[in-house]
């Protein structure tokens, strides 16, 4: 058991879930108190001792299925799939007679809520339809999708939804969700069974490696799938709230203000006039003003979206936020955003109503910066922090560095967030290096973790004097 536990912990660490030595020891203690045959108990014990953040739980679940999924399998697998059945499965296109019959039985088991029956059927399905061959180094996801596709799960979903008899919207929605929940159960079972088979064949370490997925905060935003983006979007909300609380606390407790004489004397009366307990005025809060310039062309739009989402969740941390969007022309789009406004709707509006395209709809940083200097430079004050998001790929047009310098001269600080990996900067049409000398910092921000770190730094910016020194140095 200890051996299994240590390799399980190694896997968790490899995915990025931090597990300390003490926690590992706790896990070993916990395991001593439970019934090892009870998978649910083992799962609870390990989750409670090894995972200390809710957002790491999915990674834990995945690894757990690989390492301990087989432990309590009620009966041995009914023989490894033969090459013949694998070949037959491979040749018979999607959904042969066997598959349809099997699917009907599975649907019946799902309706009846018969878990044991469902498990048997799924076992059969994986056996007959996955085409799984011992020793072939193929990722687990492949077999999963193959089984699901050959069973015709999507078709079943369609049929079930079409068969819903009720008209009323609410009831219809509920029925649809019932179907989704039911099919998800099937999905989970198939996934487990595939993993179980693979582990039996190749051992847990190898399988875990093929199934490894990055933690949410480490997913590259530029290359995220639609599904990942949805999950990230859902995660940004709570993350921003968390960040806001932390920042508000830090500001409040950063330093004490001047002595509050009136309150100190009033308090001293309790102690017979002895000034035991001095009281201080809270310091005046200085909140930064934020001017955001977002490149919303093509792939940059995704990134701009997360920046905007995070910024507006933190609106209370800034005294004023102005948003400008550009592709090759720039427009003030602040009016679309604001407390209570729906971000998705705002982005739609932005795309249809804002004047952000001038000529051909390819990014032109130079022209956008000219637009800003011509029309909006007065919105940058010595209290404003200017934040630019984009890859600085200006399609070989004049970057207008002089105009950019004008903005930098007015602002309190200028930051550039580049969602591209820093090794690609200044290759091709990227002119990052031209702008960099006028920025207080240029950051590579490809993941939510980096974005979070940046926003935290942003809200406690360097003092103006330090900034002048740093800028002077960087320009030499």
């Amino acid at each position: 058991m200890i051996l299994a536990l240590t390799s399980f912990i190694e896997e968790l660490r490899a995915v990025g879930v931090p597990v300390s030595m003490v926690e590992a020891i706790d896990a070993a203690h916990a395991v001593a108190h439970i019934d090892l045959a009870d998978r649910q108990a083992l799962r609870a014990a390990l989750a409670a001792t090894l995972v200390k953040q809710a957002r790491h739980l999915p990674a834990f679940e995945a690894a757990f299925d690989v390492f301990f999924g087989t432990a309590s399998s009620p009966e041995p697998a009914p023989g490894e799939p033969t090459i013949a059945s694998g070949a037959a499965a491979a040749s018979g296109g999607s959904g042969g007679d066997g598959a349809e019959e099997l699917m009907a039985a599975i649907a019946a088991a799902l309706h009846a809520g018969d878990e044991a029956g469902l498990r048997d059927l799924v076992r059969r399905a994986v056996n007959e339809l996955s085409g799984l061959q011992p020793g072939r180094p193929v990722g687990g996801r492949y077999y999963f999708y193959r089984v699901m596709q050959r069973l015709g799960v999507d078709r079943l979903r369609q049929q079930l939804i079409e068969a819903i008899a009720v008209e009323e919207a609410l009831a219809h929605r509920i029925a649809t969700e019932d179907i989704a929940a039911m099919l998800e159960l099937l999905e989970v079972e198939v996934r487990r069974e595939v993993v179980r088979r693979l582990v039996a064949d190749r051992g847990p370490q190898a399988v875990a490696q093929t199934l490894r997925a990055p933690l949410l905060e480490d997913i590259d935003l530029m290359h995220a799938t639609r599904d990942e983006l949805a999950r990230i979007e859902a995660a940004v909300g709570p993350l921003a709230r968390k960040l806001a609380t932390r920042l508000a606390q830090r500001r409040r407790h950063g330093r004490k203000g001047r002595l509050d004489v009136r309150r100190t004397i009033r308090r001293s009366l309790q102690h017979g006039g002895v000034l035991l307990d001095p009281s201080f005025k809270p310091p005046r809060k200085s909140k930064p003003e934020l001017v955001l310039l977002c490149d919303v062309s093509g792939s940059m739009a995704t990134f701009a979206r997360f920046t905007l989402q995070l910024t507006f969740s933190l609106a209370a941390q800034f005294s004023n936020v102005k948003v400008f969007a550009f592709v090759d022309a720039l427009d003030d789009v602040t009016r679309f955003f604001g407390p209570g406004r729906d971000l998705a709707a705002a982005l739609d509006q932005l795309a249809s109503e804002a004047k952000i395209v001038w000529q051909d709809g390819h990014s032109d940083y130079g022209h956008a910066i000219d637009d800003f200097v011509a029309g909006h430079l007065d919105k940058v004050t010595p209290r404003s922090t200017v934040l630019i998001t984009g890859d600085a790929r200006s399609n070989y047009r004049d970057p207008r560095v002089e105009a950019f310098a004008d903005i930098a001269a007015e602002a309190r600080a200028v930051y550039w967030l580049n969602p591209e990996a820093s090794r690609y900067w200044n290759t091709g049409d990227s002119v990052m290096a031209r702008y960099a000398p006028y920025c207080d910092a240029v950051r590579e921000v490809r993941t939510i973790r980096q974005l979070e770190q940046f926003v935290e730094d942003l809200i406690l910016p360097p003092s103006p004097a330090l900034r002048a020194v740093a800028l002077a140095q960087s320009r030499q």
Partner: protein, 292 residues
């Protein structure tokens, strides 16, 4: 060392008596906390029964509940102990003229100590359940204050020395996850994430909490609540809100959850006007005309 329970199933049973439905995961973690003498850190959205867990734990174990409500600015004097300053002053005045050495020993004795929840929990002659509620509200520096109590069940008072627990409390910390807790604190705890319940579990909770509810109504309510939680809302309805909603529907005499009555009572489930508007739109509910 004696333990409260012999198996997780026993925990689930005794919790049920007090109207708390612990699923396998929760009862297993509580069981381990009892065995390993470790605090439970319960985390999850507001209103899923984190505090309720501690309250029920106290009832089921027949222990007194000591509660420390955390808030920003909570300090040693409010959490651990405080010297009873006024009493000390009075003592000094009453004993005027005595030599200093006598006085010093006197006024820093246990008589002059005001116990606050943490000290109370470990000095209690009977074992207690200690609930440290919303621990994410205190500053990260203040967390350090809890560490000594949580891992060795002792409190060090400079003038008195170290006070060790006479009885081991069962400790539950709750967090709404508004900020990351420190590693040091997390390491000392068993982590328990309580999320929104599944439809089946929510139905069971509704039936346990609102016994007058019929089976079918409970199932319907649970399903509508699931739909509402699936929407992108500022604040998704919590379990306590769905219980409130069930009571509301009962009071209105509704015998089915259809669109009309759902629309009229959305305000019980959702607490932001924008959320109500959105839910009404997405679920195609008629909304009560409130003149706005």
């Amino acid at each position: 060392m004696s333990f409260e329970w012999t198996s997780p199933a026993e925990i689930a049973d005794s919790f049920k008596k007090y109207g708390y439905l612990a699923d396998g995961h929760i009862s297993q973690v509580v069981y381990l906390a009892d065995r390993l003498q470790k605090p439970i850190l319960a985390e999850g959205p507001a209103g899923v029964g984190k505090t309720e867990l501690a309250v029920t734990l106290a009832k089921a174990a027949e222990r007194r509940l000591v509660r420390l409500q955390c808030y920003e600015g909570l300090d040693e004097a409010k959490a651990l102990y405080e010297w009873n300053y006024h009493k000390q002053l009075l003592r000094l005045q009453a004993d005027e003229g005595k030599p200093w050495d006598d006085l010093e020993g006197d006024i820093f004795g246990e008589d002059f100590l005001l116990t606050r929840p943490l000290l109370d929990a470990i000095t209690s002659p009977e074992p207690v359940v200690l609930l440290i509620d919303e621990v994410d509200r205190i500053e990260i520096e203040t967390e350090a204050l809890l560490l000594e109590v949580l891992d060795s069940f002792q409190v060090t008072i400079p003038e008195l020395g170290t006070i060790t627990a006479t009885s081991r409390p069962l400790v539950v910390l709750t967090s709404n996850n508004t900020r990351e807790l420190s590693e040091a604190l997390k390491r000392r705890c068993l982590f328990l994430h309580i999320g929104y319940p599944s439809v089946d579990r929510e139905r069971a909770i509704l039936l346990a909490r609102v016994p007058e509810l019929s089976e079918t109504m409970a199932a319907r309510i649970a399903k509508v609540v699931r739909s509402v939680r699936d929407l992108k809302l500022r604040k998704a309805p919590s379990v306590s809100e769905s219980i409130d909603w069930a009571r509301t529907l009962l009071a209105l005499g509704a015998d089915d959850v259809e669109a009309g009555v759902t629309g009229d009572t959305l305000g019980v489930l959702l607490k932001y006007q924008e959320d109500i508007d959105r839910a009404a739109k997405e679920l195609e509910l008629p909304v009560a005309d409130d003149g706005s």
